[in-house]
Symmetry: C2
């Protein structure tokens, strides 16, 4: 099997689009979701993000990395203004609409793509009605990275809405049943196969599978 | 379709293991990889991580979130000491060994699990020979989150090693061909189906697919 290698200097010399595709593919399959926000005037915004990570279970926290805050970033600005946002998993049957939110819309992405806003409790952020797994969050803190001015923002989970049949007796969410998809690179979306699950690993014994 | 909902207060009241599984599942399918490091004395360490995100393409940067630095965290300590680490994608045929790295080993996880260390250039961190996609990085910066003492660390890519046949003419890496897997929750590993790719989205036209 012939390997291809790239050094740091070789990466710098690559054509921009090639480098962007390559580096964006390197973190493997990614969490991808639609983030819903609204401005203080109530204008809704919906944007697709793949830089989303688990931060903690207690308190329940999720982090998102935003591109540099040097041009208009409606999602980040809305979160800083209203303190609320939603994370909505993407299902295969509306992935085209989800991708279409990344276009430059003069109107709300909900209106432009035909996805449906939905509200819960007193959260100042729309959910996506078509999503199966929906999470409402409130702002906790953010850090601007010195290396490239991206912004790492953390929110605390205030509300979870998901289909009953996806939640196992041990709390594990079957994301394949929920029809959640994953993504890779900048523009590729994938369906996922049923998992193998393993018990807590011990050095003294082989890894054993557990049932869902 | 009956929905299940959880408020922030209801999450706090859940049994700990149930809450941990539930919250860890909420970010969707995750990047999962083995992170290789070594101590200043040359002892190797290998650990499985699912909190890995793309930070930037130019300069080429990847971020990792580490659990609180209040108990021994060999991976984080090694990176802070040697300034180097590797990220190695996991293939289905060694996922049991990858999961087994999470046990408490008295010896190196390489020795314990039977995975093979491999070196490139002058990087002070072992790669996993069995991995198809391997990335060598150097430390750039880190931030400790106030909310839960987790540590967000950023590295710059110094070396990429991957099979030639996975890299498309536009730089996109076909991670399905590379046999990279994804994970969900704390202990579930999934194979992934071939993607649909979409062209750069425009508000004035429908989303169109592109060939790999």
């Amino acid at each position: 099997m012939a390997n291809q290698t790239y050094s740091n200097a070789q990466l710098s010399a690559l054509e921009k689009r090639f480098r962007t595709n390559l580096i964006n593919s390197l973190t493997g399959f990614k969490s991808v979701a639609l983030i819903g926000t609204q401005s203080t005037e109530g204008s809704t915004n919906l944007a697709i993000f793949s830089q989303i990570i688990h931060v903690g279970a207690n308190p329940p926290l999720i982090g998102i990395l935003f591109r540099p805050h040097t041009v208009a970033r409606h999602t980040l600005e809305n979160i800083l203004a209203t303190k609320h946002f939603s994370i909505n998993h993407i299902r295969r049957d509306f992935v085209e609409k989800a991708h279409h939110t990344s276009a430059r819309w003069e109107i709300s992405e909900f209106e432009g793509t035909g996805l449906t806003p939905d509200y819960a409790d007193d959260l100042l952020a729309p959910f996506v009605s078509e999503a199966s797994v929906k999470v409402g969050l409130s702002y906790v803190e953010h850090h601007t990275l010195r290396c490239n001015e991206t912004v790492f923002l953390v929110g605390e989970i205030q509300k979870i809405i998901l289909p009953e049949y996806c939640v196992g007796s041990d709390g594990f969410i079957d994301l394949v049943k929920a029809e959640t998809i994953t993504c890779s690179g900048l523009d590729a979306y994938h369906q996922v196969a049923s998992p193998v699950r393993f018990a807590y690993a011990k050095a003294s014994q082989p890894v054993v599978t557990i049932d869902n």
